[in-house]
Symmetry: C2
Subunit: 256 residues, 2 copies
Amino acid sequence: MTDDLLTVGQVADHLGVTVRTLHHYDEIGLVVPSARSRAGYRLYTEADLLRLQHVVVYRRLGLPLEEIGTILADGADSDTVVEHLRRQREAVTHRVAELTELVTAIDRALEAEMNDYAISREEQRELFGDGFDDGYAAEAEERWGDTDAWAQSQQRAKSYRKEQWQQIKEEGDAVNARFVELMDAGVDAGSEQAMDAAEAARQQICTWFYDCPRPMHAAIAEMYVTDPRFTKTYEDVAPGLAQYVRDAVVANAGRG
Amino acid sequence: MTDDLLTVGQVADHLGVTVRTLHHYDEIGLVVPSARSRAGYRLYTEADLLRLQHVVVYRRLGLPLEEIGTILADGADSDTVVEHLRRQREAVTHRVAELTELVTAIDRALEAEMNDYAISREEQRELFGDGFDDGYAAEAEERWGDTDAWAQSQQRAKSYRKEQWQQIKEEGDAVNARFVELMDAGVDAGSEQAMDAAEAARQQICTWFYDCPRPMHAAIAEMYVTDPRFTKTYEDVAPGLAQYVRDAVVANAGRG
DNA sequence: GCTTGACCCTCACGGGACGTGAGGCACCAG
DNA sequence: CTGGTGCCTCACGTCCCGTGAGGGTCAAGC
């Protein structure tokens, strides 16, 4: 039970790495199996697996193998295991925060494109450039290209041509016109009708762009009044529209 | 204004890539600057920058350059720009979901370590193994190792030794004892006192492990009753404790 | 006992995405 | 006209494996 030694293939299956990877880790001394069979087969113990698991997680974060080695070299007792987990947690959440930032950057770019607002280089830089102050830290690993979700999104995007784009713009204009109409009529931004218009706007985003739940929609609407660029595109349609739309969207997000 | 051509260095600064990278993209024909100066300097137009920006975002997601090339090759009008942004958004959120999963896996492992519960290989596999069904998709890019945040967390983790670990366990036992005491006394899990105990437990996590806001704590507490392993570790202390702690934590999360 | 797979071994070369000089023009400031 | 900085083109180095080539090993079945 405790002397349950595994061969490369089994270990590879368990932890989702390739045999070659295990060979490599052995070669460079990162994870050296504690035993070998008479025939020279690598045999991994429980402890080896634990170490390997840490390596795999660190690797997923993109740390170079050498650094992983030095990290793991600082002892291997029970308490340092917790240390590793703590660090790993921190590193992963940090990465998540970065990517989330990237998503909002993309959202802004989408908004800009939707409103036919060509953003300048300076703004691009602000959005994408070195938004990730320290490491713009590209994440690599090739196999990502043929992921299921990726293939899906690629396929879905295929059915999306010029006349449809035209339609999107028309729908958008219609929604905006509706907002202007309501605003000019003095209808409150928190009213049923305004909320309906907001809901229509949201539906449009869901249909054409991406799944956008109400809270997310509200967050985006905040940009209408906080980001001068978007404020401008709405104010150009009608003065006061940015605030009005924002309020309506927020109100709409508030109802069940 | 429109014929505002930039050299490699300027472009590199703007988009946060290296000059060498731009050379490489030129070499393989991925992003070829539209012009050259008499002296042979690469000169990038606005359109070049737009293309490059998409490349950079895709690259951050870890797509291989070749694939990026074919993606960008399907036309380059205004509407396909939106398509790219849509895809990029989807891809990034997908990645965020993956990493978030990884975080909860780490949380579980941390919980297990905290309770001195050594998880089996089978469970490790479940947690870390191929949780990412298709591509375990390691994210690479070396430079990550010497990120500020990383160095920080590494340094912070240094001050964390064996006697402290002992202290952590004692504190944990104390909190659990408090829970048992309350439960045995028939005090309601939603009571002030039980919530105080829950808050103490949360503070302990914050202090020793990671920043854990109340809602997150509640999510973790759910595991006490849904994950048999954790249920067991609490039930072993006292029958009914898992449910009691879970309820107290949830109640505590509910108060301001 | 012999064959057939599935699995393991050790070289060893390849490849993607750049890093890192080396050697040499280009351009502007003083 | 002399630095200093920025750009150019080779061209080799690196990291993390992928991908054979050539060959042993092991349990199972005939």
